[in-house]
Subunit: 186 residues, 2 copies
DNA sequence: TAGGGCTGTTCGTCAAATCGAACGAATCGT
DNA sequence: ACGATTCGTTCGATTTGACGAACAGCCCTA
């Protein structure tokens, strides 16, 4: 994502050109489908202007891409983090390790963690950013997880999702309890 | 997400009110931080107007929320899918099961799957939507996964991410190879 | 009660985004 | 070779978003 608002227009310009090239449509045709003047689209693709959300939205629909795709630069890389590697966050209550696998890059909306915990005092998390949604898939062991007052017991392969902006726990019931957590910033 | 461009402004209006209520800031203060006139913000929150991306961007920064948060409505539920449950997709080459855990709801940008595969002929996936990014965390077993021509061998706990819009494989090397896949529609 | 500070709204003005038409260039078919 | 069609760009005219000031309402204090 751009660091400041001034870069957004040029970023959008590049996105519009890229997406239109992908569809193979002409500038005239995209403008017609979006219901905007082709002169407007021409200026936007050249980096001149500052489109309104309605204009940009119509273009997103015409190009068949989600809205956010036009304001976020593409990124495509192959990255491997081995079981022992990666930045690790230790819980204050110990017996709990979270390895950040895919941090929320600028403009994205999810973090992915690998969790490894041992039985002991329940690991309590403070609420995260409002609107956060957590997904948990248990790999091995057994765990009591979810909102503090309505936690669910999970076995290997089980899945649970719950709001992340309320107090919640991750309480390992067996040694070497591991899982994957997707923290989604809705 | 809004179905048509006309709803976007009212959706943004609601988002602006919601996010500002969350921060507890006053309209005047948010306008000051965003560097825009408070009259502009007042009109935007009332659903009048059609902000430019620069304006909306500045507001996103001032409110401390990602840009996309302002155009997507919130959602929050608790859902559990047990190891045996959920909609299952069988591969045409068999020996490969994918359970959809969290399908991409309107406006969201990721699917979450539980994978269980057996050794056999490599499971080849056709490219998905352009811009798709796949994250894979291996739970048990061993697998050769990634873009077809640059696949990586993974052991339990290993993580890999790769573009999903190119041909890629998931080739189990041990029985009962399980993992979690996050398909992200960037 | 009068004052100051804050809230959010509404007004007129100016700059800018959008539009529609005309333009030169390139391609295609007759 | 010539018109016909499409391409993307540039131009002036119009619409509209953004701004700043003035506004009424609220709370607290002197």
């Amino acid at each position: 994502m751009a660091d400041n608002a001034a870069d957004v227009v040029s970023l959008i310009a590049a996105s519009l050109r890229r997406e239109r090239a992908r569809t193979g449509l002409s500038l005239t045709e995209v403008a017609r489908r979006a219901g905007i003047a082709k002169s407007t689209l021409s200026q936007l693709e050249s980096g001149t202007g500052n489109p309104s959300v309605e204009t940009l939205w119509a273009l997103g629909v015409a190009l068949g891409v989600p809205f956010s795709r036009l304001v976020d630069p593409p990124r495509r890389v192959i990255q491997v983090i081995r079981a022992g590697e990666g930045p690790v966050v230790h819980s204050e209550q110990a017996h709990y390790e979270a390895t950040m696998l895919a941090s929320c890059p600028p403009g994205a909306r999810r973090d992915i963690y690998r969790i490894c915990a041992q039985p002991g005092p329940p690991r309590a998390s403070q609420p995260h950013m409002p609107g956060t949604l957590e997904h948990l898939v248990l790999s091995t062991g057994r765990v009591l997880a979810g909102p503090t007052d309505e936690a669910v017991e999970l076995w290997p392969g089980d899945y649970v999702s719950y709001p992340g902006d309320v107090p919640h726990i991750f309480d390992a019931l067996e040694p070497d309890t591991t899982g994957v957590i997707v923290m989604e910033h809705v």
